[in-house]
Amino acid sequence: MKPPEIIKAQLMDAQDVHRTITRLARQVIESMDSSHEIAIVGLHRRGVYLGKRLQTLIYELEGINVPFGTLDVTMYRDDFRRRSGARKIRSTNIPFNVSSGHLILVDDVLYTGRTVRAAMDAVTDLGRPARLQFLTLIDREHRELPIRADMVGRVVPTISREEVRVQLSEIDDHDGVWLIERGEDE
């Protein structure tokens, strides 16, 4: 049984989400330099859709076609024995050479930093990027590892019983970000 949950606040509506992603796309463009080619890798699940939107926006803004890939970090997680039930493995598809490029990992929420840690291990197994950066729509703090995001949409201070839920129209009803409070922790 899932504990009951209460919606505490809406943090972003569809327009906010669009504005923030547009700003992040500009930041990605700004960080480009001539020495290394940039590529975007979205982390499953919502990082994939965010990454795709960034790719589209960068093309619309600058006419630059940035290579895009998807990464599933399930195989690299460190909480395998703590979770009940397998996480479904989704597809890792990086159709370009990871080595020596400038890679930007994209996810929706940065929390403990463990997903990013797993993603860094996964990328390392695929090659040796010249530079690896992390972009997130929401940073909700509470890091358990020495990890930070290079590009952040919005910082939202939270308590651990809360959850930040990002919804994207590609897989959810509509765009938006909500602050949810769960019942007692398991």
């Binding site: 599933d72 399930t74 195989m75 690299y76 997680r77 395998f80 024995r81 979770r83 009940s84 039930g85 397998a86 996480r87 479904k88 493995i89 989704r90 597809s91 890792t92 291990d121 197994d125 695929l126």
Partner: protein
């Protein structure tokens, strides 16, 4: 029901063991195949290893001689960074008269998380589940089941056909003594394929039609409109037991030849190996581009990785 459609597969396995496929649902089989496809990708990488099962201990209990199945499980475990120990073969306590129960209790005392068992008695894997805490994977128990072989066959078929519903599959050879055939019959009928069994009368069990399959003793009938031919290895000892008159006669009646490949342009040919060339399959068939025997071997590692991963993380109550 397309194979690539992830809506069909369940999120988790409901089983804690893989003893056979007769109790596995469509959703669970699809979950295994889908997971195996993702692991298949790792096998193409320069670094063919992920840290998923780090610190997880798996024991290979092989009470029957087997090289390729044992190695395939061993590779699968190592690709997932699990620790694997081999128990079996000559020189071990298995050949010194220890009972299965005692062996199992020793394994349990060594604190392993998962056991893979190959045994000549049907039900040995099931028995093991009552002796140890960890998950059990059946790697072949007598003529009962060999589920990972059937799963790798399904994965291989799915690389050529995009649905199992009404797929016409013929299983050819020694059905009576084949655990591979039984596991495939269970899985294929669950997925809605049309299964035909073909072989000499002495090698097809009476009333096997009750499993929802068609039986024929004529190869041309079995190959008519057939999309997948699963050929089975014929054991040499069957000839001594006068079930089949001779190798040459078996080959003449049930061996696949290049003419068959010529007539049936859609047919793909599977074989669990090792092949008796010139008996089940002629040389030209083994080498044929529509013989997918080596793909089966590669897929075997991926499927076993998927099963290990999914069972290792399943915490459901045991329904087996």
């Amino acid at each position: 029901m397309n194979i690539g459609d992830s809506n069909i597969s369940s999120q988790v396995l409901l089983h804690r063991h893989l003893l056979g496929l007769s109790t596995y649902s469509v959703e669970e089989i699809f979950l295994i195949l889908e997971t195996a496809r993702e692991f298949r990708e790792i096998l193409e990488r320069p670094i063919k290893r992920v840290p998923t099962l780090r610190g997880f201990t798996i024991v290979n209990l092989f009470f029957e001689p087997s090289t390729r199945t044992r190695i395939s499980f061993e590779l699968a475990a190592k690709r997932l960074s699990a620790d694997l120990v081999n128990f079996g073969g000559s020189g071990s306590s298995l050949s010194k008269g220890e009972t299965l129960r005692d062996t199992a209790q020793n394994i349990e005392a060594m604190k392993v998380d998962m056991a893979i068992i190959r045994h000549s008695s049907p039900g040995a894997a099931h028995f093991l589940t009552r002796c140890i805490q960890g998950s059990v994977i059946n790697a072949g128990d007598g003529a009962h089941e060999h589920p990972t072989q059937a799963l790798l066959d399904l994965l291989t078929i799915s690389e050529h056909y995009d649905r199992f519903e009404n797929l016409r599959v013929s299983i050819i050879g020694d059905i009576a003594h084949s655990r591979v055939a039984r596991s495939n019959i269970f899985a294929l009928t669950t997925l809605g394929a049309q299964v035909t069994l073909c072989g000499p009368q002495t090698l097809i069990p009476v009333s096997i039609e009750q499993l929802g399959v068609r039986v024929t003793h004529r190869l041309d009938e079995a190959l008519e409109d057939c999309q997948v031919a699963m050929t089975l290895r014929i054991q040499q000892e069957r000839f001594g037991a006068s079930l089949v008159p001779s190798l040459r006669e078996y080959n003449a009646l049930y061996g696949l030849t290049s003419e068959h490949m010529e007539i049936h342009q859609d047919l793909i040919v599977l074989h669990p190996g090792p092949v008796n060339r010139g008996v089940e399959l002629d040389d030209e068939v083994v080498e044929h581009e529509r013989a997918v025997i080596l793909d089966q071997v590669t897929n075997g590692v991926a499927v076993r990785m998927a099963v290990m991963y999914l069972l290792a993380s399943s915490r459901a109550t045991d329904r087996d």
